[in-house]
Symmetry: C2
Subunit: 239 residues, 2 copies
């Protein structure tokens, strides 16, 4: 985040509204009002799935995202990376586009002694609101947040973006004030109708997105010299 | 699949329609009309993100999915697992609900010598159409496909579902005839505006969802005896 010493969770404290349409009807005990949980999900996930309505029909597409404060008075916002020519970004135009952004992390598969009792450990967030195109003068800052979200330090290892590259990029910004966060992280315990036979194995298979060994491009002169930003990414994912 | 010797890809051959609204405007060279690519994505992914429209507003939520032929004359369909009480399933009612289902796999992060040239290796599919609730008499078969999708063999290790459990479950079925598939899997090669300095490392960090060591539940009597279905899942993910 751009303001040292103040985490996203602290900035969102009290600012995440769970309105009447955003209350979970299913498993409401899994709903979290903790801004830190929302911040952690957005921080850890690499991909966001964006739903919007095009000519009355639902559409869902994957995007890279980040959270950043563009210093435009809106505080920390969810940023979505795209192109001016992409449908969602064209549709945003000057008035913005209503979206629902789902960011989910599948942390494990839960195997009970019945298929009905089997489930998943996950953390998911859905952020609702009107996403608006980031103004051209704020695009470099927005792109900085997007690069830093995945690979902090990479920006300092490569040349700065060219003006023509920034012009070919578009970013949507969405407030983080309307969101639902759902957490299922603990083993629910054996239930009586789970089958009497405790000899049947039950438990959890933990899951995580992991990195394999980086593969240098053909023209890279020093293929063994994996830069600090990429090494840190691999270590973070494989921790 | 339920018909031995005929893969989903073969069943879909020629049956996946890419209509005028489903043509990619961005990077159309990445669009695939290969039913095998769609089948592989649906097979490998564990989670689907479903977009729908509720009172005019977009919603996106994660669901477990599978592909299965319910022998109801519709051929292989995309199945989405839920509860009769969940909003999407209530909304489906007797007429169905229009959805866009996005299934994406992030296979790697591509680091060019510019942030603009950096991208991702991914495979993503979006299936469009009207999803309908599976009739009660077909629910057991649908649930079988859903369990088998994640963990083939698990059904045979646990007791069969109870009638009351099936009643608490709902499944939506969606034809696989309208879909877009997008693939970005090869390193795009060094581009001239990628920075002249070939000493800067460029390459790919491969990514995959991996399983950690299974953790038995507290009441499992033989915690070390991980069953064949769970072992096969772990091996499949960590291959």
């Amino acid at each position: 985040m751009s303001e040292p010493g103040l985490s996203l969770a602290e900035r969102l404290e009290g600012g995440v509204r769970v309105g009447p349409n955003l209350t979970l009807t299913r498993n409401p005990e899994r709903q979290s009002g903790d801004p830190a949980a929302l911040a952690a999900i957005l921080d850890e996930a690499l991909v966001a799935h964006v739903a919007f309505v095009r000519r009355g029909w639902p559409v869902a597409l994957p995007f890279f995202h980040a959270v950043g404060d563009l210093r435009d008075g809106h505080g920390p916002q969810l940023l979505l990376h795209g192109s001016p020519a992409a449908g969602l970004f064209e549709q945003a135009g000057s008035n913005g586009v209503d979206v629902a952004v789902c960011v989910s992390l599948l942390d494990g598969l839960v195997f009970a002694r019945s298929t009905f009792g089997s489930s998943a450990h996950y953390r998911s967030a859905v952020i609702y609101g009107r996403a608006r195109l980031v103004a051209p003068d704020l695009l470099p800052a927005a792109l900085g947040f997007l690069v830093d979200h995945i690979t902090p330090g990479r920006r300092q290892e490569v040349r700065p973006p060219l003006g023509q590259e920034v012009k070919k990029t578009a970013v949507l910004a969405l407030g983080l004030t309307q969101a639902t966060v759902k957490l299922a992280q603990s083993y629910q315990g054996e239930s009586p109708d789970d089958g009497e036979d405790r000899g049947v194995w039950a438990g959890v298979v933990p899951l995580a997105l992991r990195a394999d060994q980086p593969r240098p491009s053909p023209e890279t002169q020093n293929p063994e010299q994996i830069p600090p930003s990429v090494r840190a990414l691999v270590e973070r994912l494989n921790r």
